[in-house]
Symmetry: C6
C-alpha cells in the first residue's frame, strides 16, 4: 500500500485528481478547494473500500475514489480535509492495516 | 482471495461501492441502505461467480458484482445483508474455497 | 486454466454472468434460464475460442464468452446446458487441453 | 506465442471471434463462413502485425485482428482460409518466428 | 520511475502527447507549442500526483497528466516549460523521490 | 524494446495498423499507402514519445502512435517512410536507446 500527503496541493495536482473522480468536475473542484490537504492511498480495490470506511469513521474527512468510469484492480483513494485530520486518518490507516491483512 | 467485512459502512465507502455496481445508482443505493453490513471478497472472475452462488445458497444475502461496464480479470464481490448473515457467508466461503481449488 | 461447475445457479450468480455476456440482456437471460448447470472455464482468449469449439462439438451445450465490450487477454467462457452435458464437456476439455498445449 | 487451428469451427467459436473483430458483424460473419478453417495466433501486438504480413504473403489467406475497440498489449490474430492454406501459414510463421526474435 | 527530457519536441512526439492529454486538443496544443522542452515522468498514479505538486511548486512549469479517459495504474506526467525549468524540475523530483518512498 | 521492419506491408497488416491509429481511417490509410516500409517499435509509453522525437529528427519519416482511444502502458509506434529512412531510423533508435536508459 502506498501513502502520500500533499499540503495545499498545486493546481496541476488538483487537476489530475479532480478529472479522475467519478463525479461532475464542478462538485469535484468544490470538494477539493475546500480542503487544506489531500491524503493519497493506493492499493487493492477491496482495501480501499475498507480504508475509506476507517478514515471517515476516525476523522472529519471525506474519502473519494480517484478513478473515472473504467476502474482497474488497483485504485487510488483521496482523503480530503484539514491537515491535522488527514494526517490522523493516514496514520490511523497505517496502524490498522498492519494489524489486519484480510487475505487468505 | 481477499476478504473484508464492514459494519454499517460510512457514506464514502457506500459511494465507492454503489458507483461501481453495474446497475442504476438508485437501485444500488436502495440495496446498500437496506443492509447492516457489507462483506467484500476480491478474486478471479471465475471464483467470484462461484462464490456468489455459494453465498446466496447459504445465507439470506444478496451477492453483487462491484464493477462498472469495463470488467477486468479480478473482480470484487459485495455480499449485502444483516451482520450475522454476512459473517456466516464469508466464513462459509473461506472454508469451501480452501477445499476446492478449481484449477488445473 | 480454471474450471468451475455450478448446479442450478443462484440469481446473483446468473446476474453476474448475464451482465457480462456480449449480447442483449434479454437473450442472455433466456439462454441462462433454459440451462440446469453452468460450466465456467477461465483462460487465454486463444484457448477459450478453441475450447468453445471442442465443447460444442462434444456435447449438447452452448458456449458463450462472458465479457462485455472491453475484452481483456484472459477471458471467461460459460458452457450452458443440462448437468450431464456440462460435466461431460468440462471433463472432455480438461483431458484434451492436457494433451495439446498449443504454444511454442 | 500460442497457436491453434480449428477445422470447420462451431457456431459458438465463430460467434466469439466475429464479435471481437473490428468490423461490422455482417462482414465479419461473411469472412468467417467462407473459410474452412481458422488459424489462431496470440502474441504481442508488434509480432501480430508482422505475422499478418508474413501469412498473407505466403498463402491464400486473410489475416484479421480479433479485438474490438479497446486493444490491449497482447492480441489474437485469426488466419482465415481453406485448411491447407491455414496449416501452411501457421507452420510458416512458426519457422520464421523462431529465426527472427525482433527484440533487443 | 522513468525520466526523459525532450528539447523542442518534433511534431509526431507532440501529437502523441497532445492526443492523450485529458483536455480539448486545442488547449493541449496551445500548452505544448508554448514550451521549449517537455519533461516526461512515468510511474504509479499516486506518485505522479505527488510529483506534479512538487514540480509546480519548485519551478515555472505546468504539470499535465498524459492519459485519456481510460486511466491505468501507471501514468505518464508531462512537465511543460522552458528548458532550464524542466531540467530543474526533473532533477528536483529525482532527489526528492529517492528520499521519500511513501510506501509501507 | 521490440523492433520489426515490414517492406511493402500486406493489406491485412496495414488494416491492423490503420484501425488502431488515433486519427480518421481515411488519413490513416493515406499516410500508410504513401510509404514503402513500416518500422514498428513497441515499448513503454514514455520511451515511445522519446523515440518518436528521435526518429523524426534523424530521418524523413513520420512517427505515429498505433493505439486507439484506450491507451495502455505499453504502446506501439509506427515509423512510416521509404525503406532506407525507416531502416536508418530503427538502427539509430537501437543505438541511442542502448546508451540512454532514462530510468532510476
Amino acid at each position: 500500500m502506498d501513502y502520500r500527503i500533499i499540503q495545499s496541493p498545486s493546481s496541476g495536482a488538483l487537476e489530475i485528481i479532480s478529472r479522475r473522480m467519478g463525479m461532475s468536475s464542478v462538485s469535484a473542484k468544490e470538494l477539493l478547494t475546500d480542503c487544506d490537504a489531500v491524503g493519497l492511498i493506493q492499493g487493492k480495490l477491496i482495501d480501499m473500500v475498507y480504508v475509506a470506511d476507517l478514515a471517515e469513521k476516525a476523522a472529519g474527512i471525506t474519502a473519494v475514489d480517484v478513478r473515472g468510469s473504467c476502474p482497474q484492480n488497483m485504485v487510488l483513494l483521496a482523503l480530503l480535509g484539514d491537515t491535522a485530520s488527514v494526517e490522523t486518518a493516514v496514520n490511523n490507516i497505517k496502524v490498522k492495516m498492519k494489524k489486519s491483512r484480510g487475505s487468505d
